[in-house]
């Protein structure tokens, strides 16, 4: 092979490499835009809160002139698009048939239309002489029931119960533990 032929070959190879790089970049850009289908939205709702209360607040819900629950927290944001409110450090007092029940956690999401409150992070429930601790809780506002697949510990009146998965009927004062139940009754006289 002569020297000019060799140089021409090198040029051709470089051209092919440039072309391949351009095609690859083009494909990546196309894939990026194709991936953003109209159904998939990456909008940041956190910046679109319809109502935002920074600092301690209190709110209450009445139904048929009856107080269903009141809530206080450190931070409140309401998103009209989702019909959802987010609360940090919430404390919810529920008026049940067995007296007031206080539920505290780190965070809560209130789905207004579904009338459901999802509470998470160190959930503490206090009712009369009993206290319960669980990582999360899903509360049905209308039925006044709470449930979760998480572990729960119920203590009070000399007994301590733990179990995996639970259902609480706050109105009836009824507790169900679904599996792995361990109960402990204080020292018997």
């Amino acid at each position: 092979m002569s020297a000019p032929d060799f140089k021409q070959g090198l040029r051709k190879r470089k051209l092919l490499e440039y072309a391949a790089a351009i095609i690859l970049a083009g494909a990546m850009v196309s894939l990026y835009f194709l991936g953003r289908s109209p159904g998939v939205s990456s909008e940041d709702f956190s910046s679109r809160a319809g109502l935002e209360l920074q600092g301690p607040f209190a709110a209450s819900r009445f139904e048929d002139s009856e107080l269903r629950f009141w809530m206080k927290g450190d931070y409140f944001r309401y998103f009209p698009e989702r019909g959802q409110a987010e609360v940090s450090e919430p404390a919810v007092e529920i008026q049940s048939g067995n007296g007031p029940v206080l539920v505290k956690s780190r965070a809560a999401q209130y789905a207004v239309d579904e009338k459901r409150i999802e509470m998470s992070g160190g959930v503490e429930i206090t009712a009369a002489d009993y206290q319960a601790r669980t990582p999360s809780l899903s509360y049905d506002v209308e039925r006044q029931t709470a449930e979760s697949k998480e572990t729960i510990t119920v203590s009070g009146q000399g007994l301590e119960l733990t179990g995996q998965g639970y259902f609480l009927d706050l109105n009836r004062g009824h507790v169900e533990l679904w599996s792995g139940v361990k109960g402990r009754f204080r020292k018997q006289i």
Partner: protein, 168 residues
């Protein structure tokens, strides 16, 4: 020797009680196999549980095991009523009930405990095995305070000691 004396005491107690007119024969046996000492914690393991807070009543179901001191109760279902202090006032075990403490072993369909009377009732083909003796009856009542066992329509069997040499 100790076992023979215990067996004799049991036989004597049974024969002394004797059948009463028009009533099922009831025997009273000195028995301290189930202590249920005060100051003991009661631990209950089960698959599921439901609790009524107002009534202070808990229902346990599925592979229920009750531990109280040296005693264990195994059953399919267990209901417990407790006082405000956490003291168990009433307990009812149902389904393949076994009560074990040391060398004493009792079985039946239903076991009931009442704190006020400090008694355990064992119903549904109750059977007690203790130190090589087997007591059968229609109803067994363990008087925990008096360390007595009351048996309705008692039958007695003696198990052969495994260490005893076979008779010729």
């Amino acid at each position: 020797m100790k076992k023979i004396i215990a067996g004799l005491c049991l036989t004597l107690a049974l024969s002394a009680a004797g059948p009463e007119q028009g009533r099922k024969p009831r025997s009273e046996i000195a028995f301290s196999g189930f202590s249920w000492q005060p100051g003991e914690m009661v631990e209950i393991n089960a698959e599921k549980m439901s609790l009524e807070l107002k009534e202070r009543k808990a229902d346990f179901t599925g592979k229920v095991v009750v531990n109280k001191g040296k005693s264990q109760i195994y059953c399919d279902r267990l209901s417990v009523k407790y006082l405000e202090s956490g003291q168990i006032s009433w307990l009812k075990a149902e389904g393949a009930v076994k009560l074990i403490e040391g060398k004493s072993f009792a079985t039946g369909d239903e076991l009931e405990y009442e704190k006020e009377q400090n008694r355990i009732w064992l119903r549904g083909l109750p059977r007690l095995s203790s130190e090589g003796q087997i007591v059968l009856g229609d109803l067994m009542v363990f008087d925990l305070a008096g360390s007595r066992l009351l048996v309705d329509n008692p039958r007695l069997q003696f198990e052969k000691d495994k260490n005893e040499p076979a008779s010729k």
